[in-house]
């Protein structure tokens, strides 16, 4: 195809009837006559259904016979059929980005049904604006970037191990980095797991044996990531291991760093001896309880659902009930009362555990956060919100259910990999409902309590899920990015002020040294083309392909001009 010089731009305009959805409300004759008179338009055609097989072949025929180098389809919303029309243009030998759609159905004929004349005027303006933009369109090639087939899993708890094992089972090379000396994370400190009461360390050993024995998994314990560069497909990571720094390239990264238990300093007289946390309770259970303990009081929501930590940590209720059941197994006649605000025993298994615990004689006492219980030397004073009177419960042992909080090093990892954490320090997922295991930045994935406190069932499921998400780029071997991205249009204007880098929500901009001094560099693979950098740049140095300033100005001027 000849190089696009200004004079020989040949635009084809295909106006769709969409049966009667457009033709029934707009004057199609007037539209096609008007389109013929627009600058650079050399071919106009109307068809009944542009998106049907017949319509597509008409467009392809039009491109080849009239040697068109720009195509406009005036029909429905680009959000549905733009990819279809672009691929048809490509099949006819035209670069798919020399194509522009004009919406004259969903945003014109359908919404101006009783205003045929004004609706037709609007359609004329929109087509004129489309033609103005089409004249300035440039060919683009989709950006391919190959992916290093190797996954990095940070965190060797149940979730991290599950993810690593699953990816390894699918034949991918996995590097698992764990900051502690041994794998297992929280599992090592837990005695038994609800609801099947399987032994936590047995499960941990089984998983650790599988991980250490797997040929595809390289394990680094007592190590941590201290430098990270690059983007999806091409990450350069420095891992500080016990035997020196290792530089390894990765395609994807999985964050499974888990969370730690909040130690309730200064709350309810916590002393780690008589007033302990649920985790310390697990240790006591593991060792075997001192039979002398007869009365145990557990207090829920210690240090959570308040101003400092407004979130409900989800798993402390089920942990408390599980521990209470285990205590009953070891000391059947022990009296256990659980002081709670809301018993968060959500789901099938938890509710069943909750019922069985009541059958075993565990008592539940509701307290109001306004009047919390008070722990004294050998008893606990609590105002029973449901009975409306104060109770004194003898307590040889007080167990405080504290929330899981984010590890301190979560902030460090978030800055290293340019991923965000939420106000409670947990990692912020791409989308709370639709992308719970991804980050906003492509290529990095998330599972387990690093995202939000999760029990074993959820941690394992999220580990598998994150592995599945991570395997998509690995299995394709390359990443295709739509070429609507930011580009440094005016290199001299850029003064490397870094304002755009701070603004970019996708971490797709960085400052790099070039012969002309420091300039902004666009990581095209990570860029989503949102354009906030181009709009904010004080020097107007950045621009967005397919939505360039000059294209938008041309469309504005075309829109404003009166329809002849």
């Amino acid at each position: 195809m000849p190089d696009m010089k200004d004079e020989d731009i040949r635009i084809g305009v295909f106006i769709c009837h969409c049966g009667s959805n457009i033709a029934g409300y707009l004057d199609m004759e007037e539209l096609s006559e008007y389109a013929e008179k627009l600058p650079h338009v050399t071919f106009v055609q109307r068809n009944l259904y542009s998106c049907s097989e017949a319509g597509i072949s008409e467009i392809k025929k039009g491109i080849m016979e009239h040697d068109l180098n720009r195509v406009i389809v005036a029909s429905c919303t680009p959000r549905t059929h733009e990819p279809l029309f672009r691929s048809s243009c490509a099949e006819a030998g035209l670069n798919p980005y020399l194509f522009e759609m004009v919406n004259i159905r969903d945003q014109c004929s359908w919404v101006h049904m009783k205003e045929r004349e004004d609706g037709t005027d609007k359609a004329k303006d929109q087509i004129r604006m489309g033609v103005a933009k089409a004249a300035l369109l440039e060919p683009q090639e989709p950006i391919m970037s190959d992916v290093q087939i190797r996954a990095l899993v940070i965190g060797g708890g149940i979730s991290g191990m599950t993810a690593a094992l699953s990816l390894a089972n699918r034949g991918y090379e996995v590097v698992l980095v764990e900051k502690e000396k041994n794998l297992g994370g929280m599992l090592n400190q837990i005695y038994k797991l609800a609801p099947t009461m399987t032994d936590a360390s047995a499960l941990a050993e089984e998983k650790i044996r599988a991980v250490t024995g797997h040929p595809n998994i390289t394990l680094f314990t007592g190590s941590k990531v201290n430098a990270a560069q690059g983007f999806i497909g091409k990450y350069q990571i420095d891992i500080e291991t016990e035997s020196g720094i290792k530089k390894i390239d990765f395609g994807v990264i999985l964050i499974a760093t888990g969370a730690s238990v909040y130690t309730p300093e200064g709350l309810y007289g916590y002393d780690g001896q008589r007033i302990i946390t649920q985790l310390e309770m697990e240790r006591l259970l593991k060792k075997g309880l001192d039979q002398g303990i007869k009365n145990i009081v557990m207090i829920q929501c210690v240090g959570s659902r308040n101003e400092d930590r407004p979130y409900c940590s989800r798993i402390c209720c089920q942990t408390a009930v599980k521990n209470a059941m285990l205590i009953k197994n070891q000391i059947p006649e022990a009296k256990i009362s659980i002081l709670y605000r809301d018993m968060q025993m959500y789901g099938v298994e938890n509710e069943e555990l909750f019922r069985d615990s009541k059958a075993k004689g565990i008592r539940y006492i509701n307290y109001d956060s306004v009047q919390p219980p008070e722990v004294e030397s050998d008893k606990v004073r609590v105002y029973h919100a449901l009975l409306g009177r104060e109770m004194l419960l003898p307590a040889d042992l007080v167990v405080l259910s504290t929330p899981l909080i984010a590890h301190e090093d979560a902030v460090e990892i978030s800055q290293l990999l340019r991923i965000s954490i939420d106000e409670n320090g947990f990692f912020l997922e791409g989308h709370v409902k639709l992308r719970p295991l991804d980050f906003a930045t492509d290529g990095i994935f998330l599972c387990g309590s690093a995202h939000y406190p999760a029990n074993i069932r959820e941690a394992v499921a999220q580990g598998l899920g994150a592995a599945s998400r991570a395997s998509i780029p690995l299995s394709q071997g390359s990443v295709v990015v739509e070429p609507i991205i930011s580009v440094l249009a005016n290199e001299d204007a850029c003064i490397a002020c870094g304002l755009c880098v701070a603004l970019c929500p996708y971490g797709a901009l960085e400052i790099q040294k070039t012969e002309k001094g420091e300039k902004v560099h666009v990581i095209d693979v990570a860029c989503k083309g949102c354009g906030c950098c181009a709009a904010a740049c004080p020097q107007k140095a950045l621009d967005i392909t397919h939505f360039r300033d000059r294209q938008i100005f041309a469309v504005i001027e075309a829109g404003g001009a009166e329809a002849q």
């Binding site: 969409c18 959500y346 789901g347 939420d422 409902k433 992308r435 074993i456 999220q462 598998l464």
Partner: protein, 452 residues
């Protein structure tokens, strides 16, 4: 949904059911029945012209029967695949009466009335069950009188009331008010009909109905059949007009529902039905209450629950914010009974456990947060696949392998496995996909080893 429809690697068989499964992990033979839709899938562009012209109105299942759709329909506006379907039970043509309007209207001539069910064989390596759940039918709970009191609705119906594409376009018109409005519409039709009948008589006899009636009463046209009909028509006319205007005055007093009651654990945590907790209903009610408040700032909601389980990420903060900003109050207690007070207002009787008093309160509308019941078809599907169900009739899984069913190679995700909310379902979907991929990969490597 759009991505699924357009993804080259996904073959979407909508309106189809699995009939038989043979073989075992890694190579299953699955027989699928593609039910006849009487529309050619490859020809239909989903433009919707046929639906506009179709004369038969049918209660719309997507809107819980609150709105109506046509006999030829797309399940909801932007449903994928956009291919329309003819509802064989309601379509006149398929029931022997003459019609075929949709066939005439369709310019892509995609309508094919003698399309048959088609049986398809599939060879697959793994199967993922994502059969979802059914909404518990609250009419099984007599004390909530779901069927008798029109202003008691289920959560899913309330969702349709609030939705901009729902039957009321997002306005919280009370069902009792809508019934009155439907009555008014019926009456208006009757008034016009009788008006036209009177005019026909007047034209026929060139005489105003008023004078004719005076003469008729004076005994002038006693025995004439036609005149008698005219007189009865004229006598009955004012009565209809009268009831119509009283109803119309009553409609002026109607307002959007402002006092809402959300009753949690309807069917859940209940030994008579489902002893488990369905997990998402607390959050769903809080969301509905907040949206209702956004639509109508004076809306006040009370959520009755034993525990308000806001356990997910950001849920507790959402619940607290709902309480502070969107006029929601949380009442700890289980609702005993709903009776109908004056002006169709449901009255809720409950024990306020913090005050240890039995109280009752009148509301404009009551929303029942219904339980997540296993789908009706799960029993048959389980038999076909050979997988076990747990005692609550969800697919049996274990905490260590949460997405594996009891049969290797068959996996489960979402509410078919156990009640859960959207974020967990989406996460579990990826987990099931991963396990399936693992299974398929292992089989390939074994085949290669066998060949090598």
């Amino acid at each position: 949904m759009l991505d699924v429809g357009r993804h080259p690697n996904i073959e979407l068989l909508a309106y189809s059911e699995v009939e038989k499964v043979e073989g075992q992990a890694v190579d299953f033979k699955v027989t699928v029945r593609r039910k006849a839709r009487y529309v050619e899938e490859d020809k239909c562009t989903g433009c919707g012209a046929c639906a506009e012209k179709c004369p038969t109105a049918v209660p719309d299942a997507f809107n819980e029967g609150l709105g109506t759709r046509k006999a030829i329909y797309n399940y909801f506006a932007q449903g994928i695949p956009s291919t329309h379907t003819i509802d064989a039970d309601y379509c006149r043509q398929l029931n022997g009466k003459k019609c075929g309007i949709c066939e005439k209207t369709c310019q892509a001539d995609a309508i094919n009335f003698d399309q048959e069910d088609r049986i398809i064989q599939l060879d697959v390596g793994a199967i993922i069950v994502a059969a979802g759940y059914d909404v518990f039918d609250p009419s099984l709970i007599p004390e909530y009188r779901y069927k008798e009191i029109s202003n008691v609705v289920t959560a899913i119906e309330f969702e349709r009331f609030l939705s901009a594409s729902g039957p009321t376009g997002g306005h919280l018109d009370r069902p009792s008010d809508r019934a009155v409005q439907a009555e008014i519409a019926g009456l208006e039709k009757r008034v016009n009909k009788s008006q036209r009948a009177l005019e026909k008589f007047e034209k026929k006899y060139e005489e105003g109905s008023g004078e004719f009636y005076k003469k008729y009463e004076a005994g002038q046209y006693k025995d004439d059949e036609d005149y008698k009909k005219w007189a009865d028509k004229y006598a009955g006319h004012p009565a209809i007009v009268e009831t119509l205007s009283t109803l119309k005055r009553k409609v002026e007093t109607f307002t959007v529902a402002k006092r809402l009651a959300f009753i949690q654990c309807v069917g859940s945590r209940d030994f008579r039905f489902y002893p488990f907790c369905s997990g998402y209903c607390c959050m769903h009610s809080i969301k509905e209450a907040i949206i209702a408040n956004e639509h109508e700032p004076e809306t006040q909601s009370t959520i009755f629950g034993m525990d308000i389980r806001a356990v997910g990420k950001g849920f507790e903060e959402y619940k607290v914010r709902g309480g502070n900003k969107s006029g929601i109050s949380y009442m700890r207690g289980r609702v005993a009974e709903i009776t109908e007070g004056p002006d169709n207002n449901p009255v809720v009787t409950y024990e306020n456990t913090h005050e240890r008093k039995v109280e009752s309160q009148e509301f404009d509308m009551v929303i029942l947060a219904t339980a997540c019941a296993p789908t009706k078809g799960i029993f048959e599907l389980a038999k076909i696949l050979g997988i076990e169900l747990n005692k609550y009739n969800f697919v049996k899984t274990s905490p260590q392998s949460p997405v594996d069913s009891t049969v290797p190679g068959i996996f489960v995700c979402g509410c078919a496995g156990s009640p859960m909310d959207v974020p967990e379902s989406v996460a579990q979907a990826s987990s099931a996909a991963e396990r399936a991929a693992e299974m398929v990969f292992q089989s390939q490597s074994e085949k290669e080893k066998a060949v090598a």
